[in-house]
């Protein structure tokens, strides 16, 4: 008599993926709410989205205190880095949703599908950032990206928006091709899709498998480089950022970069054993990214494009921390990356939120000159933008300053002097264009500015205030914030 066949069951801990599940469920409920709602009033949908994100945030904070483990047959990784990144993603998504409603109504694109799509996109970002499995990483990336392609083209009657969606879509697909081809070579060398085995393959390998792994790393770097808009893979960024609706741009500039940086960091840590081979290439990319982003940002007349180039430069800064962590994972802490991403997300989303005030009665202004008179119209918005610009410049007392400081510390510890010097020089250059933004806001307005600028109220006000308070809070109470995102020690 045969013994009944039994499938081997891997160890599965469903509680681990609770944050991801809550965000995905919130998306489904938001979709259903939108289906049965009256179409005009989006408040129920927004509350559903925010409550779902809130529950997910609570579970993430709870998980921060747990010790490290992997589950789902090594497909889900639970560590302080994953939970920290999840928290930043959830906060960024919630802030984006908060300021979207008023903007989309003013721009006459109040489509309900925005809410489920942005929540599912966040789901993908969370999946991508908490795994060592390249398969899961790829699926997460695609969930994130495919939702974003649709969101970029949300303003269907506007050619600019559709053009940006098409560019983003084609370049995104192109980048995925490179990433996948890289994964194929890692699989060929290790016989597994899990990054855990890269380390051991590098340790006892003969020449050919190391070459395969290096080739794979190069291709994966190109793929992720497109997503992170590192120079020379950045060409799509300013166009897409300018054309997409401003709330989607804010989301792209924060969440999709957070997730891709988390993935890049995990990949580089797996390759730590041969860091002297990849550091020169990444150093060159880092220097180019910072310098190019800042120099081109100097001569922009469009605020969205300027912030796009500024986000390229910021990706260059963060790359320093990611290189340092990838080269010496044992000596550096995860908190630098999470801390910088937290500060960067708050400032970027806040800046875009203030920019949406220049949208009224179906027309949107995104030039520096469109922000003239903001100080007279709503002094609070102007002051908040000044504060956020100060954080982007790296003014002491703000999140941006400490974020850069931690990066410099990590960089020097790992001997990345060239990158650190470049970062310092670039921070000084960036002061010029951020000051340009502040100057535009405080310039005297005319009669037309009353008609051009929306008042600061409702969700936008909450989002702006939250970003400003967050930037100051993170900047001043850095100690407690660091110990929370550092997890259990």
């Amino acid at each position: 008599m045969h013994q009944a066949f039994q499938f081997p069951v891997p160890e599965i801990d469903f509680a681990t993926i609770a944050p991801v599940v809550f965000v995905a469920l919130a998306g489904i409920v938001a979709l259903v709410t939108e289906m049965f709602g009256n179409g005009r009033d989006k408040r129920t949908t927004i509350w559903v989205s925010l409550i779902g994100l809130g529950i997910a945030l609570v579970t993430c904070v709870y998980q921060l205190g747990l010790s490290e483990y992997t589950t789902f047959n090594k497909m889900v990784e639970r560590d302080a880095f994953a939970s920290g990144i999840h928290i930043v993603i959830i906060l960024a998504t919630a802030l984006t949703i908060l300021f979207s409603e008023g903007y989309m109504r003013d721009k006459r694109i109040a489509h309900g599908e925005f809410y489920p799509l942005i929540l599912w996109s966040a789901t993908g970002a969370m999946i991508m950032s908490s795994t060592e499995s390249l398969l899961v990483m790829f699926v997460g990336l695609e969930i994130l990206s495919i939702s974003l392609y649709v969101l970029a083209g949300l303003s269907r009657a506007e050619e600019k928006s559709e053009e940006s969606a098409l560019k983003y879509f084609l370049l995104g697909g192109f980048a995925s091709g490179f990433l996948l081809y890289g994964i194929a070579f890692v699989y060929g060398a290790t016989g597994s899709l899990n990054l855990v085995y890269v380390n051991s393959a590098l340790a006892h390998s003969h020449g050919s498998s190391t070459q395969l792994l290096l080739f794979g790393l190069g291709l994966m770097l190109i793929g992720l480089g497109f997503k992170l808009s590192l120079v020379p893979f950045h060409l799509w960024t300013p166009d897409v950022y300018q054309g997409a609706p401003t709330n989607v741009t804010a989301y792209m500039a924060s969440v999709s970069k957070i997730a891709a940086f988390a993935a890049l960091s995990r990949i580089l840590i797996a390759y730590a054993a041969i860091h002297e081979m990849w550091i020169p290439a990444l150093t060159a990319i880092g220097v180019l990214t910072m310098t190019y982003g800042n120099l081109v940002a100097l001569r922009q007349t469009d605020v969205k494009r300027m912030l796009g180039y500024s986000s390229i430069a910021n990706a260059g800064y963060l790359l320093v921390a990611v290189i340092a962590r990838g080269a010496h994972p044992a000596e550096t802490s995860t908190t630098t990356i999470v801390f910088y991403l937290l500060g960067y997300s708050l400032t970027t989303i806040g800046a875009f939120a203030v920019l949406t005030l220049a949208t009224r009665n179906g027309s949107e202004g995104t030039k520096f000159s469109d922000l003239r008179g903001l100080y007279q119209r709503s002094p609070a918005a102007a002051i908040i933008l000044t504060l956020l610009a100060a954080s982007l410049m790296g003014f002491p007392g703000t999140a941006g300053f400490l974020g850069k400081l931690f990066i410099v510390k990590d960089g020097l510890q790992s001997g990345l002097t060239l990158l650190v010097v470049c970062l310092a020089v670039n921070s000084v250059i960036s002061v010029y264009y951020y000051l340009g933004l502040v100057k535009a806001v405080f310039a005297a307005g005319d009669e037309a500015s009353e008609l051009r600028l929306s008042p600061l109220k409702g969700g936008v006000a909450v989002a702006c205030a939250a970003c400003a308070i967050g930037v100051l809070f993170v900047g001043i109470f850095a100690g407690p914030v660091l110990s929370v995102i550092g997890g259990a020690h």
Partner: protein, 114 residues
């Protein structure tokens, strides 16, 4: 030993991938560009399947062999599923552009400059 060596399959994959990359760079019609991206993904699939078959030679323990081969073959299914999802969204975007301007040549998509 007779049979087709590993390098031939990998070479074909590399050729297809390169053809796709070159196509993306030089073609002007978004639908053709998208077909080139699909060609890149198919090259990836071929490479995955080649390496999956190769695991049988490389892995000493039969159990590991099975799991290892399965991983590569499974990945191919995921790639195809994701490619299908991308087609759905991509053609939707191209349709939306066509409705707005009756022309989808990407050289004429130049509103965004700075």
């Amino acid at each position: 030993m007779n049979g087709v060596p590993l390098a031939v399959y990998l070479g074909l994959g590399l050729f297809m991938f390169t053809a796709g990359v070159v196509g993306v760079m030089i073609r002007r019609n978004p639908i053709v560009i998208f077909m080139c991206i699909e060609l890149m993904l198919n090259a990836v699939n071929l490479t995955f399947l080649t390496f999956a078959r190769y695991q049988a030679v490389k892995m000493p323990i039969p159990g590991d062999q099975q799991a290892s081969m399965m991983a590569g073959q499974m990945m191919v299914i995921f790639v195809m599923a994701v490619a299908a999802a991308e087609v759905a969204v991509g053609l939707g975007i191209i349709m939306a552009i066509f409705r707005l301007r009756d022309n989808i040549d990407i050289d004429e998509l130049n509103l965004l400059r700075g």
